[in-house]
């Protein structure tokens, strides 16, 4: 699993990095911390490159470094998968049946990259996610200002809208007790099931699986899938509740739940939710929700 954490110098990014660290603790994910700075207008050197000291704002670089330190503080000691180098004597089979004790230095088991890109934030974060093939983008936002990022409107929403992978928009909300998952249960992927499992475990939250009905009942194939999902979580000791919501009531329901629960929406290409709960409604949800929102793909 590869996680891309988009960070800036605002306090909500501290919360986002904490969330990523907790996720990485459970999943041993490869992680990239990415900051996006403004594009430079000053002249380049003869070689065509900016020296880093000149190109990047010092306080921005310091903030990103602090995030790396914060992240690593969750992984103490020798067992940290991000520890750069560990050296020691090890017996290595140098030939068939012949072993020799050699002094070996091994690199980190998992990647932790810290990067800064310049340009428009949403475009740069999305570009990084495509280039690195990430599974999850995590981004915080300022809840008091309708989920702005770096003081700009609509960046987390744009990322949620255009990313090819899952996106977690982290809000500095009080403790989450419940995670509400509106899934297209007919075609739910194993990766998204695992993601939900991780989030529920991290927050010690209850899981509410929402079956979207058209008419009084669920479709037979959706029912079968929900049955399998409840068995899957029950086997993992995750307490899960089922609730049926009529498609006409879905927006009201999600608005209500978004006041205190982490709302997860499955918005894959083949999702029926995509049809009934289009992206413009998701964007509104991200702006208005008091708690974090997870868009699963």
């Amino acid at each position: 699993m590869r996680i891309l954490a988009a960070v800036d110098q605002y306090p909500y990014s501290v919360v986002a990095v904490e969330e990523v660290a907790k996720l990485a603790l459970n999943t041993w994910a490869d992680v990239t911390l990415i900051g996006v700075g403004p594009k430079l207008t000053s002249k380049r050197s003869r070689s065509g490159e900016f020296p880093a000291a000149q190109a990047l704002d010092q306080s921005f670089k310091d903030a990103i470094r602090r995030y790396r330190e914060n992240f690593l503080s969750y992984f103490q000691g020798e067992d940290s998968p991000y520890q750069q180098q560990r050296c020691g004597y090890e017996f290595i089979e140098v030939d068939k049946g012949r072993w020799e004790e050699l002094y070996v230095c091994r690199g980190a088991r998992k990647d932790l990259k810290v990067r800064i890109r310049q340009g428009k934030p949403a475009a740069q974060i999305l570009a990084e996610s495509y280039e690195e093939g990430v599974d999850l983008i995590v981004i915080g936002c300022d809840q008091a200002l309708n989920c702005t990022w770096q003081g700009i409107d609509g960046i987390p929403q744009k990322i949620a809208n255009n990313a090819a992978c899952s996106v977690l928009i982290v809000k500095d909300a009080p403790k989450i007790n419940r995670m509400v998952c509106c899934l297209d249960h007919d075609r739910v992927s194993q990766a998204s099931l695992e993601m939900i499992n991780q989030m529920v475990t991290l927050h010690h939250a209850e899981l509410e699986l929402v079956g979207v009905t058209t008419g009084e009942a669920l479709r037979a194939d959706v029912e079968r899938k929900m049955d399998l999902i409840t068995r899957y979580y029950s086997a993992r000791n995750v307490k899960s509740w089922i609730k049926l919501v009529e498609i006409a009531d879905l927006e009201t329901f999600i608005k209500q739940e978004a006041q205190g629960s982490l709302v997860a929406l499955w918005m894959g290409e083949k999702s029926i939710l995509e049809k009934f709960f289009p992206m413009k409604k998701v964007v509104r949800l991200i702006s208005a929700s008091q708690s974090s929102v997870l868009i699963l793909r």
Binding site: A217, M226, K239, I242, L244, D249, F253
Partner: protein, 269 residues
């Protein structure tokens, strides 16, 4: 040993109800029977009468048997005494009601998934089956571990009437039991009843259960909106409520019961 009937269809609600019933059967002495009614009306008009009709019905039952058989097989591991279901063709409610009355069942269990709006729940409560069934009913809305249950009541007389069916089902079962005395309000303004009244009612209720051999754990009172109480009771594996069939559709108890995500046991008053 009580006799319990579980209604099964090939759906999620039945799968959950059967798993819950098996869990219950491992806790209390219970002879668990299952039944599937192939609703002929839903499959269209019968093609004729006599032999032709019987052949048509048998074909319907065969197809249902396979799906229900899979449900039963899956739960046999947790409750080996589970047997093949009784398969009947006819009107679902009529057939189940007839079976409950004929075999004198002590408990009826069925799945009724929790919904955001209360319409489905109200329809079920108003159904012919619920209006006429003589035994208590467990509506399984979700599959939860039955470690703790709660009796809710708003009058002492209700609780007294509830004790008999409650004892018949649970006798000396080793499940934690709490008591909740409630008073609903239609708005945030609370009823004027004092705490002393609630304490004294709870004390008497605890005495009634103690005399019946049940020691209660937490004894609490609640005053406020139905949705708040439904959140308070979320952790219980079973919510036991006295229930009058004449309750108005707009009643706060009905609204509350529709909002509870846990299984509920309705004891008719």
């Amino acid at each position: 040993m009580i006799k319990a009937l579980v209604s099964l269809d090939a759906d999620l609600a039945s799968s959950i109800a059967l798993r819950y019933a098996c869990q219950l059967a491992n806790i209390i002495a219970m002879d668990l029977k299952t039944m599937h009614v192939e609703d002929a009306a839903q499959k269209g008009s019968p093609p004729g009468s006599g032999w032709v009709r019987r052949t048509w019905e048998n074909a319907m039952l065969k197809s249902g048997e396979v799906e229900i058989g899979q449900l039963i097989q899956a739960e046999k591991l947790s409750y080996p005494a589970l047997r093949a279901p009784k398969m009947v063709v006819g009107d679902r409610e009529d057939e189940i009601l007839h079976e409950i009355q004929k075999e004198s069942y002590d408990l009826f269990i069925e799945g009724a998934l929790h919904t955001f709006t209360a319409a489905n729940f109200y329809n079920k409560i108003r159904s012919k089956l619920y209006r006429h069934t003589p035994c208590p009913v467990i509506m399984v809305k979700n599959l939860v571990k039955l470690e703790k249950m709660v009796i809710i009541f708003k009058e002492e007389a209700e609780l007294k009437r509830l004790v008999v069916p409650f004892l018949k089902i649970f006798k000396k079962a080793s499940i934690g039991l709490d008591l909740m005395y409630y008073q609903f309000a239609e708005s945030e303004e609370l009823p004027q009843d004092s705490n002393e009244d609630a304490d004294s009612i709870l004390h008497n209720a605890r005495q009634i259960l103690m005399e019946a051999g049940w020691q209660t754990g937490e004894n609490r009172s609640f005053r406020g909106l139905p949705e708040k109480l439904s959140e308070v009771l979320r952790d219980y594996g079973l919510v036991i409520s006295p229930f009058r069939r004449t309750l108005s559709r707009k009643g706060l108890l009905l609204e509350f019961l529709s909002r509870i995500p846990s299984p509920i046991l309705l004891c008719w008053q």
